[in-house]
Symmetry: C2
Subunit: 137 residues, 2 copies
DNA sequence: AAAATTTTGCAACTTTGTTGCAAACTCTTA
DNA sequence: TAAGAGTTTGCAACAAAGTTGCAAAATTTT
């Protein structure tokens, strides 16, 4: 819905522009992770590459989307839950990357497991990325 | 020791060349993860950028080193344990990246925790990357 | 020591990401 | 609802990261 994107932008004190609206809508429609490149491809030539970079960066800063670490060096982005706010991400779920269709899922139902670190190491953030075969492959 | 690198290359049926020996020695000396860029910097202008790319790629294929996923999009490499062989990595440890000194550790002592996935998802590889403050910071 | 094989370095190119700036757009306020 | 202030966009130019083909150099085999 066009309205959701609008509301989210407003709530985050962002000017509502065509690029921001459409890129955000894309995330709501697809409901899985996207890379810069996907967005460029899907939106066609509509927005400048630089605009897409800047939009994604803004969304990350505002806590609207988060990045997902991958073994190859691509950067993927996915929607945050509502608890994330400017400068403070509170995502506590793991990620799944399908080796076949390469879809990337946020598995909100699976929370990050405890890990016991050696003496002297103080954890701040734990990222778990599982790869394998997804439910559709 | 120059000899260790030599042996490892031989065991993996790789021709022993200056670049391979020196890059591999670097991993043994430093004993933590390195990125392409580190290697270029440390070895000075001695080897071509392309050679470093190709050497790292070869080492990964042979199971001599493995890559470590990171949230920013840098690619880090670290030595594998002996059980890794051509085409088959058997690393079962987690990684720690220090936010202060940005050193990346393979925590061999900490094994990857179990994760229970939703129905339909079949795990093949689980990557755990913890970031925070390391034992030296 | 020569021949066969592999690796290297170079050049040229692609892809990815960054920056400064004027023009276009969005928001505010009267 | 129109002008002005502020923000965002697209372009150009650049920098960094990664890839490919190929001849020359090095390594391994015979
Ligand atoms: Mn996620
Ligand atoms: Mn490791
Ligand atoms: Zn799949
Ligand atoms: Zn540290």
């Amino acid at each position: 819905m066009s309205n959701l994107a609008y509301e989210v932008l407003k709530r985050n004190q962002l000017s509502v522009t065509e690029s921001r609206k459409q890129i955000l809508e894309l995330f709501y429609e697809r409901n899985n992770a996207l890379e810069h490149n996907d967005i460029e491809r899907i939106t066609g030539e509509k927005f400048d590459r630089v605009t897409i970079y800047r939009t994604l960066q803004t969304f990350v800063e505002k806590g609207i989307i988060h990045t997902i670490p991958t073994a190859d060096n691509s950067v993927r982005y996915a929607l945050c839950k509502d608890e994330c706010t400017e400068g403070h991400h509170h995502d506590n779920h793991i990620h799944f990357i399908c080796n076949q269709c390469s879809t990337t899922y946020c598995l909100e139902a699976v929370s990050v497991p405890e890990v016991l670190l050696p003496k002297g190491f103080q954890p701040q953030l734990i990222e778990v990325v599982v790869s394998g075969k997804c439910k559709n492959c």
